[in-house]
Amino acid sequence: MRLDIAKKALALGLGLALLAGCGGGAEQSADGPVELSFWAWAPDIDKVVDKWNAAHPETKVVFSKQAQGDDLVTKLLTSAKGGNPPDLAQVEFQALPTLVSNDVLADISEGAASAKDKFAPGIWDQVTLGGSGVYAVPQDSGPMMFYYRADLFEQYGLKVPTTWDEYAQTARDLRAKAPDKFLGTFSSNDPGWFAGLAQQAGASWWGVDGDTWKVSVDDAATKKVAQYWSGLVAEGAVDKSPMYTPEWNKALNDGTQIGWLSAVWAPGVLKGNAESTQGKWAMAPMPQWDAAKPRTGNWGGSTTAVTAGSKKQKAATEFALWLNTDPAAVEALVKECGIYPAATSAQEALSQPPAFFPNQPDFYTLAAKIAATSSGFTWGPNVNVTYTAYKNAMAEAISAGGDLVPTLAKMQGATVDDMKANGFTVGG
């Protein structure tokens, strides 16, 4: 009811201002220093921005700290409607189509297309949305990996699983040897995690065919993943409580959860949630569907995008490119913000392991190898709808006993219905 009266009133006022001030999206003539506004949430990214400002007196970037993820998407949509967006913003991969579809982001292919070679193809595809436009420059990626408690694996005589069959067997063996412990959990609360698992299996949830969207959230690969986890959940081989709860934190801390299928940024989370376990974890590639063709999916990751409302798109594109491909800038991003860079050369340049993994000196060498096996993925214009459907339907399915496959049809239905209701052309 009274959710955002102020916002609406503001939008109304700004909307009128937009009508008055509209017309002519020409580049601002460059006399005097250009000022660019930049919204982002990565911790300490302002220190990297300072580096740019020190080296480029003619283009000043003004940084503004934002809340992470979905909140920023809402804020960007509102500010764009109001005709007052920032010039640059940090945007997660899966939010790109939503923002492009709402006309919030600029096509910067003119200035940025040449950066294509600096990124793995799977990463680059996500900023082009499978077309000829370029809507952002990749910043960090989240290739998925398997984390496990090396000490407890040794204690229970477990081997690191390299295939999903082995993972299932290891999960069962652990339950037999230590009935109060789990190799992992199937979380109804983390659609991004499930999307990563589906990507690894070769799923393709959205696609563009000419002027038509193709949606297949319930494709064969995703069904295979859901089927697999249904079995593990139903027989109790893995836990079924959500991740990122106080209970889960405690389980990571006290060794109730001895493994975590996560992404390259996991060391930061483990440090925050399970500090007492420093040096006890190790990282390995994801269990594979086909050991001969190793693949992984992405969980998380973000980009730097230029807004369509910006009058200084050229300068903004230059900054976005510098931030994510200049060796010094990317090194600063890694050091100050703790991100895993999307640029391939920067991934290879990482030498020190994360502080939480002193026992695995080749952490980043292995991570770069894994990142190179990332699957490509096209996100749709209503990922948020699919994600909400995942949370609601998976939670229900898990409570009801664990057949997760019917959930996919619900996700597919919700996604397609929403797209059709909005007027998108959706093909079969």
């Binding site: 959710l3 009133a9 106080p246 209970e247 409570s399």
Partner: protein
């Protein structure tokens, strides 16, 4: 006054009323009107929706209302809220009444302390209360379950699909009893003491005084607190939203208001969210009005 011109007496009332009217129009009537306006539109996308200007706002009349009314999730959410309210309202008001009557007894000691202790949870914001209770509910972190384990009894999972109703109602009871108790207690204190004296002389026990004098005279206050409780129940949002990430038993559209929030900010569809909120507002109005009407003879019996 006579020397100050004839216009003043005519203008003065308007001047006094103006701030209230302006505020009412600006922060109440205008947003409501805008919500109703929004609810008659929706965005329409052409083709892929990726090009410039591929989104436009189109007028759809009552389409959004039709869709909201036929949405099974909204109806299911309303039913869940009814179940939750059926547990919450009687428990909360019952406890509030008992505490108020106890505190009103002459022989009670530490009255001030008890009153504060019962009232204090009301000062804790709903989100924080839910986080605190969430810790206590999660089987892995719950001290109750730890205690039960020590006694080799089976643990209880209050976050199971049925348990969740009680878990949520418990948070609201914990937070709401104090407030309602204070309202009832204040009403009790305003009952003339000589009525009790007369009753005692007639040989009434404290129990009879409570049942035959205090509770009937409390009726207006009870109606008021019930009305507020029912409205608060229908608006439940913060508690289930905060607990949802902790459990498989709560969906993000568990209550109608959660659905409005999801529509507006999860799906980015302000239009259907506006339609649903208008519907919720109408239903709330009808329920509140109906409740008042049914109980009017009791509540305002003396004033008709």
């Amino acid at each position: 006054m006579t020397g100050r011109g004839g216009a003043a007496p005519k203008l003065a009332p308007y001047a006094f009323v103006a701030p209230a009217v302006v505020l009412f129009l600006l922060v109440f009537a205008l947003p409501i009107a805008y919500t109703v306006y929004l609810s008659l539109f929706r965005t329409e996308v052409k083709g892929l929706g990726l090009g410039k200007g591929s989104r436009s706002e189109v007028f759809v009349g009552l389409d959004n209302y039709a869709r909201a009314l036929t949405d099974p999730e909204l109806g299911a959410g309303a039913l869940r809220v009814l179940g939750y309210g059926a547990i919450l309202v009687p428990t909360m008001l019952g406890l509030a009444l008992v505490f108020a009557l106890l505190l009103d007894e002459e022989r009670v000691r530490a009255r001030g302390f008890s009153r504060i202790a019962i009232f204090l949870p009301y000062a804790v914001p709903g989100v924080i209360a839910s986080l605190l209770w969430g810790f206590l509910y999660l089987p892995g972190t719950s001290p109750f379950n730890q205690a039960l384990r020590e006694l080799s009894l089976p643990g209880v999972d209050l976050l199971s699909p049925t348990g969740i109703y009680f878990a949520l109602a418990n948070i609201a009871v914990w937070g709401g009893v104090g407030y309602n108790m204070v309202v009832l207690y204040t009403a009790l204190r305003s009952i003339p003491r000589d009525l009790y004296e007369a009753a005692r002389i007639d040989g009434c026990t404290p129990w009879q005084v409570a049942m035959r004098i205090k509770i009937p005279l409390l009726a207006p206050a009870l109606v008021l607190t019930s009305l507020f409780s029912v409205i608060a129940t229908l608006q439940v949002f913060a508690e289930p939203t905060t607990l949802a990430p902790l459990t498989n038993s709560l969906s993000l559209t568990w209550t109608p208001l959660m659905k409005v929030y999801q529509d507006a900010f999860g799906r980015g569809d302000l239009y259907s969210a506006a339609a649903t909120s208008v519907l919720i507002a109408v239903v709330m109005f009808v329920i509140s009005f109906g409740l008042l009407r049914v109980t009017r003879s009791r509540a305002f019996g003396g004033e008709r």
